[in-house]
């Protein structure tokens, strides 16, 4: 039996694409392992990076469990089809596949675009490939900074937020990869950025250290510890600041929105509210970080004010 999920998403609300992603996870999760699942984007004229990036991750997460997930590519809207080609959906670009001297040629294609390509960073790399990954992270971050004209301190904040999120995945997730994807909306004045993996999630990360955290039993418990800065590395003096500092820079400093999801729990923080919520039946394997970064007048923002 084929299952087709219809996606129509032409609104820019922050949480709506995440809600759609959760709906799809719930449907896929209730499907028999032997069924072919087709995620149908054919009626879309627009889609948010949170949804597109999330779809790539859940495809890989469910494939790991033995599911067969495909995307319907018969698009009604030719411009949307071209957009998906440009962002490399769903195949992504992998820095390890590049020769060292070919980065410039590749990134030249994106200098005037309002998006970066869907980028997948493999984990567990050889030292040489890890250097390529590091180089690529720098290039992708710089692409975002240049395109959004994030001068000075705001550029530094972007570097901090992206590097901390990716390093957390490399250090803690036990995921085979991380993905990053961003879309810039000049007319709306913000950047949407997703960084995600399909690893063991926050709960799995805490449960791997029963010596330090003997009672962590739920995703909510793990989320509370993560946003509180409790490090699974056990060196409290120098660890555990990444999530907290990133959140403070983005929300308090730049008036952005911060959404972190793992398992059946999410955390949402903006200047109006800060809350942990449960996702019901939908469970996200790994960690899903969705950020909205305003590109407005943030002249008073000082990067160093938020360093802990």
């Amino acid at each position: 039996m084929n299952i087709t999920v219809q996606l129509i998403d032409n609104q820019d609300a922050f949480g709506r694409p995440i809600g759609e992603l959760l709906r799809i996870i719930e449907i896929v999760d209730s499907t028999d392992l032997n069924d072919e699942i087709i995620i149908d984007l054919s009626r879309c004229r627009f889609s948010n990076p949170f949804l597109l990036g999330g779809l790539v991750v859940i495809q890989k997460a469910f494939e790991k469990k033995g599911y067969n997930i495909q995307f319907n590519r018969n698009f009604a809207d030719a411009r949307f089809a071209a957009y998906l080609e440009h962002i490399l959906f769903p195949r992504c670009i992998n820095p390890v596949s590049f020769a060292d001297d070919s980065y410039d040629v590749f990134f030249r294609n994106y200098r005037n675009r309002n998006f970066i390509p869907l980028t997948i960073y493999p984990n567990n790399l050889s030292p040489d490939d890890a250097r390529k990954r590091e180089h690529f992270i720098t290039e992708v971050t710089q692409l975002i900074i240049n395109r959004c004209r994030l001068a000075g301190d705001i550029g530094q904040a972007m570097r901090y937020i992206i590097s901390e999120a990716l390093d957390n995945i490399i250090e803690h997730s036990r995921s085979e990869f991380s993905i990053i994807f961003a879309q810039f909306y000049p007319n709306l004045g913000y950047l949407d950025l997703i960084i995600s993996d399909c690893g063991i999630g926050l709960l799995g990360s805490y449960q791997r250290r029963p010596d330090l955290f003997p009672h962590v039993a739920s995703h909510t418990d793990a989320m509370q510890r993560a946003i509180d800065g409790q490090s699974t590395k056990g060196d409290e003096l120098n660890r555990g600041f990444g999530i907290r500092t990133s959140r403070n820079m983005l929300v308090d400093g730049l008036n952005g929105k911060y959404f972190l999801m793992s398992g059946e729990t999410f955390y949402f923080h903006d200047r109006g509210q800060s809350r942990i919520g449960t996702t019901g039946k939908a469970s996200f394997d790994g960690v899903f970080l969705a950020l909205r970064v305003p590109i407005g007048d943030n002249r008073n923002f000082r990067y160093t004010d938020y360093l802990e």
Binding site: A13, F14, G15, R16, I18, G19, L22, R23, E26, H215, V216, A217, S218, T220, D221, Q224, R225, I227, D228, G229, R244, K257, F259, Y267, F268, D270, G272, Q273, S274, R275, I276, G277, T278, T279, G280, K281
Partner: protein, 120 residues
């Protein structure tokens, strides 16, 4: 992992919660349950909470988490009540009382969750 739903109105015997004492009593009631991992506080039919109650609720939530690893989740919270909890939570975090004083909301169904996500 054990979880239990606590009917806040039934325990407090009122739909309007004014005092810190009411929050303390609620958590004394919760702590009577051994081996509890998740305490779900059902705010159905609660029409009002004071700032004092909200402040104490979050402090008790942090205490339950830090001392007994009990995760407290809020269910069926009316919008006005949640708005008060959000305000107090924001103040507590700003003043550095405790960063984990973040309300944990358990959505009653997929529609309620989706309504929240659409609103943010």
């Amino acid at each position: 992992m054990t979880e239990e739903i606590f009917d806040v109105k039934a325990i407090a015997a009122t739909s309007s919660l004014a005092t810190r004492e009411a929050a303390k009593n609620l958590f004394d009631h919760i702590r009577l349950n051994e081996n509890l991992a998740i305490a779900i506080l059902d705010f159905s039919s609660i029409t009002f909470i004071s700032r004092s109650f909200a402040d104490q609720l979050l402090k008790e939530q942090v205490k339950a988490f830090n001392t007994s690893s009990i995760v407290v989740q809020l269910l069926n919270v009316p919008a006005d009540v949640l708005a008060m909890i959000d305000k107090v939570s924001a103040t507590q975090q700003k003043t550095g009382f405790d960063r984990s004083a973040v309300p944990v909301v358990r959505f009653a169904d997929a529609e309620t969750l989706n309504n929240f996500l659409v609103s943010i």
